[in-house]
Structure formats: structure tokens, C-alpha cells
């Protein structure tokens, strides 16, 4: 076992981990951050992408001990929490994914969003070609991808207007994962938060 200290969604974390523990196992099993998914065992699908020191990483292929001292951002930490402690505002990418119907089952979505966040942090005005290239390591089986590309473009435009880099500002992350451990009935999409009418059609 090895003790590691890191920042996850801007919260300080100290854990004892086995040397073979993967970053994604640390996130999901130990920290309860189940928004990061595992969709394959060969580092192809990208469902597990998180940011490590601002760069995209497939967390199924990174050992937890390798991120000792690093800052990790997961999908749970992307929404910006306002200083007054109110409800976090969606990151422009998250909003764009909703607006453009860029997700169906939603399983690949966290990895897609994090890969796109990394792209926009380094390339604020990417071409469609660059977006497609940046998403090469992320598989989606539902959407056919075009709506995802459109969402990334929309978010890029939005960020350009706002002048932000798309990454959560230091000190603004959310460290609380979703509560798991409940076996109660899953109310799929029982949240009453409905969207407004989209532009399409």
C-alpha cells in the first residue's frame, strides 16, 4: 500500500492505495465519483477520461500512485460552483451537450465532455476537423457523433464570448460525489428539471 495525496475537483484527498489500483478505481470505488465510467479494458473507448493537471487522461490506464501530487478534475468538478455556495452552473460544454442532443444513453458523455474540455482549454476556436480529431479516442454508440461535434462548436463559441478557458477556476470545484449505496428504486430521469424548447425543428 502507498499513501497518495492529490487534489480531486479541488478538494484535498489523501488515500492509502494498492500499487495496482487504477485512477478510475480510486475515483469510483474510493471517492464515490461514479460519473467517470469504464466502457472497455483496452483504453479505446474514452468513457473514463478525466483531466490530470489539465490534460486529458484515460483513468483506466493510469495508476492511482501516478497521480500523487496531481490535480484531477472529473465530470463532477466541471460545473462551476458560485462563490455564494449556490447550485453549480453548468459548464458551457455541459449546456451545449443538452442543447444539441449530443447524448442519448449518456454513458460516454462524461468522457466526451472531459476530452472536449481539454481540447477547448488548449484550442479555443477549433475547426470541425480538430474537434473530430480530439474525439478520436472517445466512442459513442448512440448519437452518430455529429451532435457531439456541434455541441463542442457551440461551447467553443460560448467560451469565446465569455473569454474563459473552459476549465474550472481554482477553488471552484465540487468535491462531493453522488451518494451511492442505495438500493432503492431508480427513478430514471425523475428529476423535474426540464429543459426549455431547443432550437431544432
Amino acid at each position: 500500500m502507498t499513501t497518495i495525496r492529490l487534489r480531486v475537483n479541488d478538494d484535498a484527498v489523501t488515500r492509502e492505495v494498492e500499487n495496482r489500483t487504477l485512477l478510475v478505481e480510486l475515483l469510483r470505488d474510493s471517492l464515490g465519483l461514479t460519473g467517470t465510467h469504464v466502457g472497455c479494458d483496452t483504453s479505446q473507448c474514452g468513457c473514463c477520461v478525466v483531466l490530470v493537471d489539465g490534460r486529458p487522461a484515460k483513468s483506466c490506464t493510469v495508476l492511482a500512485v501516478q497521480v500523487d501530487g496531481a490535480a484531477v478534475t472529473t465530470i463532477e468538478g466541471l460545473a462551476r460552483r458560485p462563490a455564494d455556495g449556490g447550485a453549480p452552473a453548468l459548464h458551457p460544454l455541459q449546456q451545449a451537450f443538452i442543447d444539441c442532443h449530443a447524448l442519448q444513453c449518456g454513458f460516454c458523455t462524461p468522457g466526451m465532455v472531459m476530452s472536449a474540455a481539454a481540447l477547448l482549454a488548449g484550442s479555443p476556436a477549433p475547426s470541425d476537423e480538430e474537434i473530430v480529431h480530439a474525439l478520436e479516442g472517445n466512442l459513442c454508440r448512440c448519437t452518430g457523433y455529429n451532435n457531439i461535434v456541434a455541441a463542442v462548436r457551440q461551447a467553443a463559441d460560448e467560451l469565446a464570448r465569455g473569454g474563459a478557458d473552459g476549465l474550472p477556476a481554482s477553488g471552484s470545484g465540487s468535491g462531493s460525489g453522488p451518494g451511492s449505496g442505495s438500493a432503492t428504486a431508480a427513478a430514471t430521469a425523475s428529476t423535474p428539471a426540464a429543459g426549455s424548447v431547443a432550437k431544432e425543428a
Binding site: H101, L103, Q104, C105, R141, T188, A189, A198, E200
Partner: protein
Amino acid sequence: MAEPSGYGRFGSGHAVRRIEDPALVTGRGTFADDVSLDGQAHLVFLRSPHAHARIVSIDASAALAMPGVVAVITGADLVQAGVGLLPGPAPFKRPDGSPAASPPRRALAHEVARYVGEAVAAVVADTRARARDARDAILVDYDPLPAVVDPHDAVAPGAPLVFEAAPGNLAAAMRHGDAAAAEAAFAAAAHVVSLDLVNQRVAPAPMEPRAVLAHHDEATGRLTVRMSTQMPGGARNTLAQDFFGIPLEEVRVLAGDVGGGFGMKTGLYPEDAAVAYAARRLGRPVKWCAERSDEFLGAVHGRGVSSRAELALDAGGRVLAMRIRSLANVGAYATPTGVAIPLLVGPWVQTSVYDIPVIDFEFRAVLTHATPAGAYRGAGRPEAIYIAERLMDAAARRLGIEQAEIRRRNMIRPEQMPYRNAMDQTYDSGRFASIMDQALALGDWHGFERRLAESKARGRLRGRGIATFLEWTGGNAFEERVTVGVGGDGYIEIYSATQAMGQGIATSYAQLAVDVFQVPIERIRIVQGDTDRGAGFGSAGSRSLFTGGSAVRVASERTVHQARDLAADALEAAPDDLEYAAGSFRIAGTDRAIGLFELAARQPDRQIFVDATSSVEGPSWPNGCHLCEVEVDPDTGTVEVLEYASVNDVGRVVNPIIVRGQLDGGAVQGIGQALCEQIVYERDSGQLQSASFLDYAMPRAGLVRRFRTEMDTSIPCLTNPLGVKGVGELGTIGATPCVVNAVVDALWRAGAGERALSLQMPLTPERVWQTLHG
């Protein structure tokens, strides 16, 4: 046109943003592996490395001695425990009239392993890593046996048998039509077109691997199984009745967010039963989460049908008869869907949108030492439509009739509706020529020559493809139960036993409820995935909206009806004097009114509850015309899909943005089969060579840059109250033949001749290059 105001903007027909999405984009979804229980153990499966082998012995002593290991379970344990088998292929027949035959399927292989990846033992430990470690320490003594994975090899004389009671490896077979009439038609035909077509096996590959968390509660004696499934009710029934032999009430199946299904998550898998068995035996929660290799090896594959297909035509291009002989590779265990899909569901739509009077079909379900086959998006219809559309193009070339024109000459006309096809299936509606004409205009079909010249100038081979087609939806399960609870807390909770897996069911149902209740969509909660609250067929065969959505409409209307009587009491008025609008009842012509939620709060239990079961009258027959243009690089054989245009008759539309998403996303799956996807077995050893995303080519971003997708909503389905038609599979069904026909066209124009006509999927650069250069 002015937007309607208030709640109406969230009713049906509007592109409402999905209510599912805020949770999913922030990592707050609840997929099966996201839930854990205190004290849960982890299970992993040891899988057979042989395609066919006698299991001589299993020595788990070293594994059991390892730290944290709780149990190692084998097939012999299941036999000893007296648990049951998984369902076989009944009620089909073999060619000699005997019952369908398939090896008895246990949750874990017993005595014989029949495909690479069949689960042979289950290891349970306190952590997943320790379970994996222990798995490596199990010693299995196998006696390898000869194996056969190709269906043609399997029916050859002397082939190794998968099951002694299935001579010739034939699990089941069906003949349809009139062989003598077909023979006469072929003898008299001016033209006969014949093709050998392989619809290769593919992996459904939803991004979320299967996961199961089972827990047996000693106090109540009930088993609760949380799993990633499209059919919670079916999984519960099979688990309780077939596997454990216990009352249905003792099993509860829960499903949260399901990360894609595409047919693969229908029915109960052996692994599901093994996890449930382990939880009951060990008295603690047990979780299994499949790895991707578990999915390629152990989850069903789709398609896998080899056909000799023939058309008899008159001199004018009218089809006189269609004759098909097919072998379906159903794998080592014939499942109910694995047999029904090729033997029944495909044939139902085999004549498609064409008025073909005579058919002669023989479909055989062949056992091989391969992973069992099952449903994959389209399930039988893609295979049938692929055959029909390849034949139509081949006939067009043989007779020198333009591709759209030969289709037009054979199409069923609107005045023939309702139309009964040669398989005795009745289409309620459809204007196929009109749909095609709209598509030809949308895709500028007749402007192709100019673009062909442009491609040629760039050294590229251009081709255009067309597919006109229909499909059957509904799974022939037309009844749905819905419960509605109007709460005094100001929310309407609607439970449906259909199961979302990405289709946006919650949003569409909420829109339908808004239509009836006329309240803000935020007041509607859609709940699914709990067999204690209602069990039904689940979601498959594009049935959810037209059966489940219709049931939501009916149940909502009954709720308002029931509430009207309660409101009449409250307002001391006659029910007929009340008007319902915008969530409240008002005595007509007065200002005396009571709100629906206030009314609910006054009831015992502070709610108005309605439990309503309703049925639609029949399947829906969505249809479409898809066009595409491709460019082939003659130096590399690489295919690029440049243009994709389609017009789709989907009946009425509840949410256009969702329907479009289904059509386009489905099309990319179909294009994946056309261009890159295939399950590959090594012919002699039966090893699965495409068992990971490294080896199995999934479509990636950029495959098709732009879809021009139009919906004709003017032809409602006549057999359900919403007038909607199932749209989940339409894109997949049309896209595969459309793209293949375009590549054939490009290669034909380049002079590849018969080699182009006999092109087989997937159209990898190597295969295209070989076809081009001989």
C-alpha cells in the same frame, strides 16, 4: 408561426430539451455499476479458452485458499442445487417436424463448454482484484473437442456436432410461401437475378457493459437484482420461474440509467442468473460488472445470416417471385430471440415495400461453437432489407432500369392499404413512392452526374446508393400498464414498465402527459425500472413510444376523468358542467375552480392514483428512402460517405430532436456494419479474434459529417391513438444497404463488373481495393 405559450411549448410535437440530460452531463446518472451495497462481494467469471471441450475437472482449492476469496461456483454446483435452465428455442420445429433442439443451457457450463468465452466458473471475493487473482489460480482440465464456427461448415456432412439431439447442427427451420408457385414463376420469368449474400455477425456493443448487483434479504426472503437491462420484467420472470422456480413476488428487478442496449440487453443472461444464485447462496450482496472482453465473448452477437437470394422478374422489371435460402448462425445455444429473429421476424418484412405476390423462403437456424446470437438493433429486418435492396440493385443493372425506377415499378400503392404481404403481415399505412420522390429531391438524385464528374476530376470513384424499405415494430407485445399518481405535493408521477436506454423515453412521455394535464413539464416525473411498481414486456423492437406512450396518454386521460368526479364533489357541481384546462377544473361560465394538485391534496393518501392497462391494435410500419453518395480512393480502397439524405415516414412525432437523433445515430450503426464492423472467428480453432475494441472496428467521430434527415409526419399510424410509428431501428435498417449499394455503384462504374455485384461486407479498404483490382 408564433410559439404556443406556457406549458403548451412542452407538449408533443416540440423539440423539448431532454429532462434526462442535466443528471447525465454532470456525472449524476445512476448506471448499474454506480450503485453499491454495504458488504457486497465481487464476482468474476472464468471463461472457456476452447470452442468445444469436455470439462474433465475443476480444481479450485488454490483459489479458495487465497485472501478474501468467498466462493468458487461451478456448473456442477448449480446442478446439485437443482436450479433450472435458461430458456431454449421453443416453440420452433426442426425440418423433420421434431421440436427445436439446443443444448441445455446452464448459468455455468457443465461437463461441456461449447464456445470460447462460455462461463465455466464464478469466483466471488471481497474485492474485484482479489476475485481476478483467484480466477487465475483455478485449474481446469479440459479435453478439447473438434469445433465448427462457420454455418456452412456446420451443416456439411461429418461436421462436429454442437448437440447430439440436433443432427446436422440444425436447431430449427421454417419454410414460408409456395415453393411450387415460385418454381413456376422462375421458370416463366424473363429475368432471374441471384446473389449470395453474407450479413456478417456484429457486436451490438452498447457503451455500458452489463452489470448486476444481487441481494437476498433474509428477513423478507426476497431477492433484489439491480441490472442494466431493457427488460426488467422479462429478466424477473425468467429468473424466478425458469431459474429458481420461485414465485414472481420473491424477485424484484431494478434498472436505473441503462447505457445503451440495442437489443443486447433483452432477456436474462447466464451471468445474471449466476450472480443471483451467488447472492442467495452466500447471503450477502454480490456484484458483477462485465469487462468489454466479457461482452464480446458472452453477450449476444447480432445478424450472422448467409443467404442465396433470387428474384424472378418480367421483361418490364416487375418482380414475379422472391426465393431465399438462408443459414442463420445462432451459435452454441439457440435462444428464443436467436431463432425467432431469422426464422420469423426477418421474413415478415422480406418483401418490404414491394408488391411481390409469390415467395419461397427457407430459413435454417444453425448451431455452431460460437457465442449465441440474439437481438441487435433491427433484429431480422436489417438482414431482410439488405437482401431485398441488394437484389433490387442487381435487377436494375441486369435489366438496364434505373435504380429508383425499378423500385417504383414494384412498390405497393397507397390505394392498396391496408396491404397484406405474402407473409400474412398487414401494413396499415404508407405512401412509399411519395417518400421516395421526396428523398430523390432532397438528395438531388438526378444531379449525380455533375458530382460524379467532379469526383473523377479529383481521381476519386463516386457512387450513389438507394434503399427504399419498411420495417415492423412492436415485438407483437401491444399491452402496457401505466400508473399515474397526482400528488398533493404538486407533482404527477407516471410509472411505465417500458425501459429507457437512451431513447429519451422520459422526455417524450412527459410531453404526452403535458398534452393531457396541461401543467408545466417540471410537474411531471417519469419513473421506470422497478418490477415492484409494474412489470411488462420492457423496451425492444421500437415499441416504447407507440405502446408505452399510447398507454401514458390513455392513463393520463383516465386520471383527468377520475379527477373530474372528485372535482365535481369538491365544487358541488355536476361533472359535465366542469371544464378542465391548465391543471384545474372550473365550473363553466363561473370563476369557481379547483386545481388538480389541490384536489389531490384533499384525497385520502393525498393523491389521485390511477392504474391503467391499455393496448394498441397492431404493429407500426415505419418506412423510408435513404440515399447516399460515396467516394472510393482507387489507390487505397478507402470509402468516404460524402452525402447522406433520407426521408422517413415516422407517423406523428412527439419530439423531433429525439426522433432525428434516433434516425441519425441508428444510421451510423448501420454504416458501421457496412464499412467496418465484423465479428471474426478463427475457422479451425473457433477463437474469437475480434474480442476487444482494438480488434473490432467501431464507427468513430467523423464517419459521416452531415445527415440531411427529413421526416414525413403526414401519414399517421392507424393502429395506435398517438399515430406514431417506432423509429428506433429505422436508420440502422436503411443505412447498411444504402451505403453498400453506393460502393457497389462506384465499383461497377469503375468496371469491376460481377466482382462489384457480389461485394460482401464489411467494405474494408482491403476488400474494396481487391474488388477494384481483381
